[in-house]
């Protein structure tokens, strides 16, 4: 059994490349027994990649990893588990057709003689859920579980592995405040049992509350490693971002005109209730809130991906038919969805095909598509947004995340919309590109488009929005103007629903 403070894991100069993109360019990380070690960094800094190497999902291209003095074997999840690593991934990956209890113990079910001891499986799972303080029935199927509950099951699974090192990739992102608190208790008890926790989170207050050490990464490299006493929030942010924050949000003042989009009291009882707001010409309105607060569903409902039960949406004062993206597009609405890989792009299709997707009307003669016009369109937007690719027919899959995001923006901007809805427009893209995307959004507002922006990153919300609407558990709980808004106010509204509700 390791002693408190023993060096458990050491990663030195770890490198990882995905095709042309460099995810890790020589990262160091040292983990000791009995510590909670936070791994911080902007989106795309390479945190998840680090964890996935430890988890055996990826193999590092270079560098050394040693565990308790011995060389660590990468490349197979099974091997990682056997070496005492347990992982909670960023996206829960449960088996929806299996019971919760079985999800916790899959591949490691306790046996009684030749058979799986189902009673023990269920009792153990129940005990773990109890420990986590969640009233989940271990015998129910995982299908239909909320994201938060799925995350809880993942946590229970990691605990059950009795591992020495537990990797948690944004485990709190989907949890409510009380669930976060319980998780922290669990983490404390793991620490007391001399295990190590590597903890990734974008919620800095949490990080400072619980961690012992903080490693900051930027652009795939380690910037600093400090014990929590040696650093503070300001310093960490500066290390994460690597430059002055103001550069990131090139917001300019625009004339704000008439109301273009008006949402009146829309309700879909499963996701959101009584949402009402207006977006004007030239205005950027942000929807803020925790993950799972229902912001994306509101955007989907407006655009017509989902239906809503009551309420209405008006565009330029006229009612918008619900449930039809085609009609919404005719009414000049564009939605840049939150998940660009699943929802925004056709990953195996070329950049040109993707950009052309929403603009067929302008690309075709009577019946057939005009390939020349298509090429021109691609070139136009490549130049406007400085999208980097080698050939227009390259599948977008081969582009870097930022260029993928720009491609999604390009295809929707090409439709010249009046209303631009962007959901997490900078998720997973690097710092430089982020600023460019912000510039694009600002420019769109400058051209007189009404912009509705959903973002989980508070600085982005505060830096870009003219007005901020805060949602919590499907309810609209606050509306703040640019000059009133502060980080504290938004967080308070998003977590406790203070002000309104």
């Amino acid at each position: 059994m390791a002693q408190q403070g023993d060096l458990l894991l050491q990663m030195k100069g770890v490198q990882k490349r995905f095709g042309g993109a460099i995810a890790l360019s020589g990262t160091d990380l040292s983990i000791r027994a009995g510590e909670i070690h936070a791994l911080l960094g902007e989106n795309g800094a390479g945190k998840s990649t680090m964890l996935k190497i430890l988890a055996g999902v990826h193999v590092n291209d270079g560098g050394t990893i040693s565990m308790a003095g011995r060389s660590f074997q990468t490349g197979s999840p099974q091997a990682s588990i056997e070496q005492g690593i347990a992982v909670i991934y960023q996206e829960p990956s449960l088996f929806l057709d299996l019971t919760l209890a079985e999800n916790v113990f899959i591949g490691r079910q306790p046996m009684k003689g030749a058979a799986i001891d189902w009673t023990l499986v269920q009792n153990e799972a129940a005990r773990l859920f109890d420990e986590l303080g969640v009233p989940l029935d271990p015998k129910r199927l995982a299908r239909g579980l909320s994201i938060a509950d799925q995350q809880v099951v993942e946590i229970a699974k990691a605990l059950s592995m009795n591992a020495n090192i537990i990797l948690m990739d944004e485990p709190t992102a989907a949890l409510s405040a009380s669930e976060v608190e319980r998780l922290m208790t669990v983490m404390q008890s793991l620490k007391a049992a001399n295990k190590a926790v590597i903890f990734v989170s974008h919620r800095l207050d949490e990080v400072f509350m619980i961690s012992d050490f903080i490693t900051v990464m930027r652009d795939g490299a380690t910037v600093s490693e400090n014990s929590v006493e040696q650093t503070d929030m300001q310093k960490v942010i500066k290390e994460m971002v690597g430059r002055e924050l103001t550069e990131l949000f090139p917001k300019t003042e625009h004339d704000i005109g008439d109301v273009v989009l008006e949402v009146k009291d829309i309700t879909n009882p499963a996701y959101f209730r009584n949402i009402s707001f207006k977006v004007r010409k030239g205005e950027i309105v942000a929807l803020a809130g925790l993950v799972g607060s229902g912001r994306s569903e509101v955007a989907r409902a407006i655009f017509g991906i989902d239906k809503y039960d009551s309420g209405s949406v008006e565009v330029n004062g006229e009612l918008l038919q619900k449930g039809s993206p085609i009609v919404s597009m005719e009414r000049k609405i564009a939605l840049v969805p939150e998940d660009r890989r699943q929802q925004g792009l056709f990953m195996i299709a070329g950049v040109d095909r993707n950009i052309a997707m929403e603009s067929f009307d302008r690309l075709k003669g009577k019946i057939f598509l005009n390939f020349k016009k298509e090429r021109t369109l691609t070139e136009t937007w490549r130049d406007k947004l400085s999208i980097k690719f080698e050939s227009a027919s390259d599948p977008v899959d081969s582009l870097s995340g930022g260029n993928q995001q720009k491609t999604v923006l390009a295809k929707w901007l090409a439709t010249n919309p009046d209303i631009l809805i962007v959901d997490e427009p900078t998720r997973g893209i690097d710092v430089g590109t982020k600023a460019e995307v912000h510039k694009l959004i600002d420019a769109a507002a400058g051209e007189g488009k009404a912009v509705l922006m959903i973002s989980s990153e508070l600085p982005e919300v505060l830096g870009m929005a003219d007005r901020i609407i805060v949602m919590r558990e499907g309810h609209q709980v606050a509306e703040l103007s640019r000059k009133d808004a502060t980080q504290e106010k938004v967080i308070a509204a998003a977590t406790t629903g203070s002000k309104g509700a």
Binding site: A55, A270, E473
Partner: protein, 333 residues
């Protein structure tokens, strides 16, 4: 209460299938009482044995979100081979047949398994390919020679005629045996549970370090072995074989499994369900013949039955989705 219901649930599917089966048998029996006699019941079991065995072999594969279309060709291959070997070795008994059959089937299974699990090729295409290759191999190797009862081991044919308690043929007894063992295995062994996990979420199966290659590979080998055994059953039942034996029956096997609640989308189903599915299909087939329904409409009724079965499955799934949504709405309120 809640947990009581959820405990019943996995069994519920097989239970309701069993009830449907009994009702079907009952109705047929009402119209034609001879259907329920010892002979009638025995005939039902005898004629279900081959398809049921194949459905049991296919169930784990479908549960893993794969499919094996090559089974019917494999049945043809083994049946012909065993007849051929027995004809050339008159001292062969049923014992050799029961050993050789599964072995030949496993060769096809290994081929499928390597291609599907090893290269991660789509099983639909791979097994469609081996369907042709194996059938072609029977054509070529057999050179159109066929075999009859007098060339087969009498002990094998006798065994095929053996009936316990007047209603339970030896072959179907083996089917029940295979069904129970696989059902137990799928429920109580890690390897079995892995099949459900792999079919439920293949990506996550990789992430949690399940042995995806090994499980997939072995499932195809198992299916091949069962197809080989089914080839022996085929001989026991028909006592004749030519190179077209069991031609084109693969979809009937898939249909039996699907009617038995093994969902094509993977992740759920049991070998007990698959067996009941096979019995149900055969009951209706036999029932239609016993009632004297025009042969011309038989295939239409079969097709309709399959669609109704998957529709029922879908409706059940929808219902639980709706319950979940209602629950969610309550939470959000």
């Amino acid at each position: 209460m809640n947990s009581f219901i959820s405990r019943l649930k996995p069994r519920g599917r097989e239970g309701s299938l069993g009830i449907i089966l009994l009702v079907t048998v009952g109705i047929t029996g009402l119209i034609n009482p001879r259907f329920l006699t010892g002979d009638g019941t025995r005939d039902l079991f005898t004629s279900t044995a081959v398809v049921a065995l194949l459905a049991i072999g296919m169930a784990p594969i479908i549960i893993m979100r794969h499919i094996d279309l090559s089974v019917a060709s494999t049945v043809g291959l083994t049946a012909w081979f065993i007849a051929d070997i027995s004809a050339k070795n008159p001292d062969f008994t049923w014992v050799q047949c029961f050993i050789i059959g599964p072995l030949i089937g496993m060769i096809v299974g290994v081929l499928n398994g390597l291609l599907v699990a090893g290269l991660r090729l789509p099983s639909l295409v791979v097994t469609l390919g081996t369907l042709y290759i194996v059938r072609g191999a029977v054509y070529v190797i057999s050179n159109s020679v066929d075999y009859n009862a007098q060339e087969m081991p009498p002990s094998l044919l006798d065994l095929g005629q053996k009936v316990f308690f007047g209603v339970m043929p030896f072959t179907f007894l083996l089917v029940i045996f295979a069904m129970l063992i696989t059902a137990w295995f799928m429920k109580y062994r890690k390897a079995g549970r892995d099949c459900y996990a792999i079919g439920s979420n293949p990506h996550a199966a990789d992430l949690v370090g399940l042995k995806v290659f090994r499980r997939t590979f072995l499932a195809f080998v198992f299916s091949g072995a069962m197809a080989g055994l089914a080839g022996v059953f085929y001989l026991m039942r028909f006592a004749q074989v030519d190179s077209t034996a069991f031609y084109g029956q693969e979809l009937a096997v898939v249909a039996a499994a699907v009617i038995g609640g093994v969902t094509i989308a993977g992740g759920s189903g049991t070998t007990i369900g698959a067996t009941i599915g096979a019995l149900l299909v055969q009951t209706i087939q036999g029932g239609l013949a016993a009632i004297g329904v025009d042969a011309f409409w038989k295939s239409a009724i079969n097709g309709l039955l399959l669609i109704v079965a998957i529709y029922a499955d879908r409706t059940l799934a929808r219902k639980s989705e709706r319950t979940l949504l209602a629950q969610r709405i309550k939470e959000r309120a």
